[in-house]
């Protein structure tokens, strides 16, 4: 088995650590401008009209260095959200009780000291809080009480597991990650997660390679049967998410000579119905430093919300509203509109 590099692109001094180099690579791939294709299908411009999900990325620190990570997260990253910025998130949610969902991501968000503060302060009747969890974090000695904390606050766990087989999961996430993920899933199941009693445990499948995800409902059937029969593990829903051609997955497809083919696949699979359901229409993404973005992918490409919308939490708190706003797009957006579409809640078009 091939071992993954243990350092982020940034720590390796790789040129693709820079968003400008990533954008240049996508342009070199020959992919057309995203806005042109949107317009050709009568979908331009993309606009956000509501905040149904406030997605907060608390930083790039992670205990894993997965091969496809769009964040370039890892143990060597030090960008983490401060208490001051976390307080601004809490204040935004206090002022807008109509925002139904807080989605906390990273890195491994649980490693950020503000994670539990955010969960505790944002917890309100009727509000859904999602923890985007890499599973192995639950086994760290410093996180022994994490499952209990998540359960106490009825946090929904959305956990990455690209395959119900060890070889696929370990190829993407690192040697031994599948076994540790199963151990963590059992801890969650023992606490009542995934059993249909309201403690929600969802899994995320990313393709282990340069192709689109299979059918979400069909894969969910396979995952449920295989994980229960072979490992006694249960969960609620499976989300399929397309690998985004940025950061470490971009480095992978460029290094393996698949960049052009993968972009051709994404472009030729453009689905107007997926464009109708892309998450940027209903998400607002917050960076570890309080900058606002239309999605977590734009965040990693340093493309803040624009077209007149506030670009920071403090500006938003001072000035009012980020909707309606025109979404900032570029060639990476083909990743969300290909095939059945892709979002942090899985496929968006049947």
């Amino acid at each position: 088995m091939r071992s993954l590099p243990v350092l982020s692109l940034q720590a390796r001094g790789h040129e693709l650590a820079a968003p400008s180099a990533q954008m240049a690579a996508l342009e070199r791939s020959g992919a057309p401008a995203f806005e042109e294709v949107l317009a050709r299908h009568g979908r331009a411009p993309l606009e956000a009209h509501a905040i149904e999900v406030l997605q907060v990325n608390v930083g790039k620190l992670c205990n894993q260095t997965c091969a496809h990570c769009h964040v370039d997260a890892g143990p060597d990253r030090r960008e983490v959200m401060s208490r001051q910025t976390a307080d601004e998130v809490v204040e935004l949610l206090r002022r807008h009780p109509e925002i139904p969902t807080l989605d906390i991501t990273g890195g491994a968000p649980e490693l950020n000291p503000q994670f539990r503060y955010l969960v505790s302060e944002a917890c309100a009747p009727g509000r859904r809080i999602i923890d985007r969890c890499n599973l192995s974090v639950l086994l760290l000695p410093s996180q022994r009480d994490l499952v209990g904390f998540l359960k106490e606050h009825r946090v929904e766990v959305t956990a990455s597991l690209p395959s119900f087989r060890a070889s696929g999961t370990d190829a993407q996430r690192g040697d031994g990650v599948f076994a540790r993920s199963l151990e963590a899933l059992r801890l969650l199941n023992e606490a009542g997660y995934g059993g249909g009693d309201g403690l929600v445990l969802n899994l995320v499948h990313n393709p282990v390679g340069t192709f689109l995800p299979g059918d979400q409902a069909s894969l969910e059937r396979d995952y449920k049967r295989e994980l229960q029969l072979r490992h006694g593990v249960v969960f609620d829903r499976l989300y399929t998410i397309t690998n985004m051609p940025i950061s470490r997955f971009l480095e992978h497809i460029e290094r393996t000579g698949n960049l052009q083919r993968y972009m051709e696949l994404l472009v030729s699979s453009f689905n107007p119905r997926a464009a109708d359901g892309v998450m940027c229409r209903t998400y607002l993404s917050v960076g570890w430093d309080g900058t606002l973005y239309d999605c977590d992918f734009n965040q990693m490409l340093a493309m803040p919300s624009n077209h007149g919308a506030p670009q920071t939490l403090s500006a938003l708190l001072a000035s009012g509203s980020v909707v309606p706003r025109r979404v900032v797009t570029d060639r990476h957006c083909f990743g969300c509109t290909a095939g059945a579409g892709s979002s942090c809640a899985g496929a968006v078009a049947e």
Partner: protein
Amino acid sequence: MAETYYCPHDLPRFGEMGKDRPELWAKFLDYYNAVFADGALTAREKALIALGVAHAVQCPYCIDAYTQAALQNGSDREQMTEAVHVACAIRGGASLVHGVQMRNVADKVGM
């Protein structure tokens, strides 16, 4: 004419078989898509069967297409290799079981 009978660029041209008799192509596609839809077997299981059959009929287009379909539907190399071995075992077994015919003839005419 192509220099070889098999060419990778011909796989995406499969749809050209809809020319001249489009109604037959449409019937084939309807059937084909229905066969591969989720049913009592999942799309992943059907892709694995297709991969095994592709090796049994030794179709390079099908091997290319269903290697990718099997991966896309969540199978890994170990499972796909087992599918190829199933095709191999059935092909080998099919040859071997015809040995009974050989034995029947030999029993009849031999001494």
